[in-house]
């Protein structure tokens, strides 16, 4: 895989991204380039700001009153924090999957159709629901019970339902915040396989605390850590094999080898 350098290959690019919660400087000076249709993993110790950075990419931090963002997050060359940008439009292009599966307390069908409906989808809803569930590798398991509640599914199925729901809006990018941490190992592996398939036409950014998962699933890895005053920053970024075999930074190496024993 080649690292191309034209601007168009980047799905997201951050420039001097800084995040504050009130007076607390949570993340500083992140300069990160997310490659199109690749899987990028954000790793690092707990509390280093991985979720914070991820939530900057679709302006989910707007929902936290104390959060303040400085710097640029470029999406299609446009800073999504410019005053004329509508965060709702941003989230329609950049979907999200959360740590704990959170289907709506509605039927499986309505879960998938919901996002498309509110976005004014005019086409064949049944076809869209089927296509999205197929892409999320869930169709065969649920095709006979689309009217059942999303909560009747197992944890792993619920998470794939959440992925199908995100796909139905046809996003360019899907953000995943520790999508498998609430799942058993087999369900986790299924999600990982799914990520591989999805990466053919969507960009995926995944936060994970699981080193093996990052190594298995991602093309690029960004390693975050904290300064002594607990401000997170990006220590190293590169292609995943390079980060895991020949990290440039001693801190990265310590963290990775520490985890691998």
């Amino acid at each position: 895989m080649n690292i191309q350098t034209t601007a168009a290959t980047y799905a997201i690019e951050t420039r001097n991204l800084n995040v504050y919660y009130g007076d607390f400087h949570a993340v500083k000076d992140v300069n990160l380039r997310i490659h199109k249709n690749k899987i990028t993993a954000l790793i690092g110790p707990s509390g280093c700001g991985k979720s914070t950075v991820l939530r900057c990419f679709n302006r989910m931090n707007d929902l936290i009153p104390s959060a303040r963002i400085e710097g640029d997050v470029l999406f299609h060359g446009k800073n999504i924090y410019d005053p004329d940008v509508d965060p709702v439009q941003v989230r329609r292009r950049i979907g999200m999957v959360f740590q704990k599966p959170n289907p709506f307390p509605k039927s499986i069908y309505d879960n998938v159709a919901w996002g498309a409906k509110i976005n004014g989808f005019k086409g064949d809803l049944d076809a869209l629901v089927q296509e999205s569930l197929e892409r999320a590798a869930l169709w065969n398991e649920v095709k006979d019970k689309l009217d059942a509640s999303g909560y009747s599914l197992s944890g792993g199925q619920q998470q794939r339902l959440c992925i199908a729901r995100a796909l139905a809006v046809k996003p360019d990018i899907i953000l995943m915040d520790e999508p498998t941490s609430a799942l058993d190992p087999i369900a986790s592996l299924r999600i990982e396989e799914l990520m591989w398939e999805l990466a053919q036409d969507v960009t995926i950014i995944v936060v994970t605390h699981n080193m093996q998962q990052a190594a298995r699933v991602s093309d690029y890895t960004a390693f975050f850590t904290v300064t002594p005053d607990r401000t997170g920053y990006m220590e190293e970024f590169g292609e995943t094999p390079q980060i895991f075999t020949t990290p440039a930074s001693k801190i990265t190496e310590d963290y990775i080898t520490g985890r691998f024993g």
Partner: protein
Amino acid sequence: MSPHASTEMAPDLRKQRRWGETAIHALLFLFATLSILTTAGIVIVLFSQALRFFARPEVNLWAFLTDSAWQPQIDRFGIMVLVIATLITSVIAMIVAIPLGMMIAIYLSEYASPRTRNTLKPILEVLAGIPTVVYGYFALTFMTPLLQGLIGKDVVEIFNVAAAGIVIGILILPLVTSMAEDALSAVPDLLREAAYGLGATRLETALKVVTPAALSGLAAAFIVAVSRAIGETMIVAIAAGAGPRNFDSWSDAFHNLAIFNPFKAAETMTGHIVRISGGDISYESIDYDSLFAIGLTLFLITFALNLISRRVVKRFREVY
């Protein structure tokens, strides 16, 4: 030496008597039983006294349910005129309280900053503490003149059910708002984040995710509010009128829908009970017995309402 005969101190695993625990348990059980017994007692008295009313020769159940006038002086006991008056005040109250209460609740739970919420909610709850007699005079001296000014003095009588109903709506507004807000706030943030993550606006999230998810709590709020509206006494006693709106026949009653006219006086079930029991009423009189029949009707209506709404909620609620 057999292993069982070890001299090591064996841990004491025998059942321990904990008298304090037992006593508290018994006491709590007693209180629970007492509250159930009290309720049962009230229901029994209500039923037995009401039976005495229906056992009287002047009364028959069919006339009670179908007559178009409540005039004890001439032995006409048609409960429907009182029921319809209660219905009108309660419906008007709910028309005022539910949309307004839902809007305020959605604002407080989905839009307001924590600071605004924490200031507004206690104020709302203080409103709920104002004595209802104050609301009664508010209806009579403010709402009625207001309606007269808006609609016309020739249409709106001094005593009328509309003013009473609107003010009951204002009275139960804090209750509806507070309970609805609790129900909405109880919906986990995970669901809100899911909606926002799909590109939903605040309004779409509030109306299409949070509200349906809170449905059972909201329905509970509405049931409590309806029961409160049906049972409200002081406001109707002061502002709605001091006599049932009687008709010679039902064709008279429905002529121009006269029985439903909200701008004329009428007496509700509770209004009638409080007026009759306020006077010098003797225990042996038919008036006295009739109060229990009205009371029983009130009880059955609220009870039925509860049962029906439970069914409805079970059908439509979203379980998360």
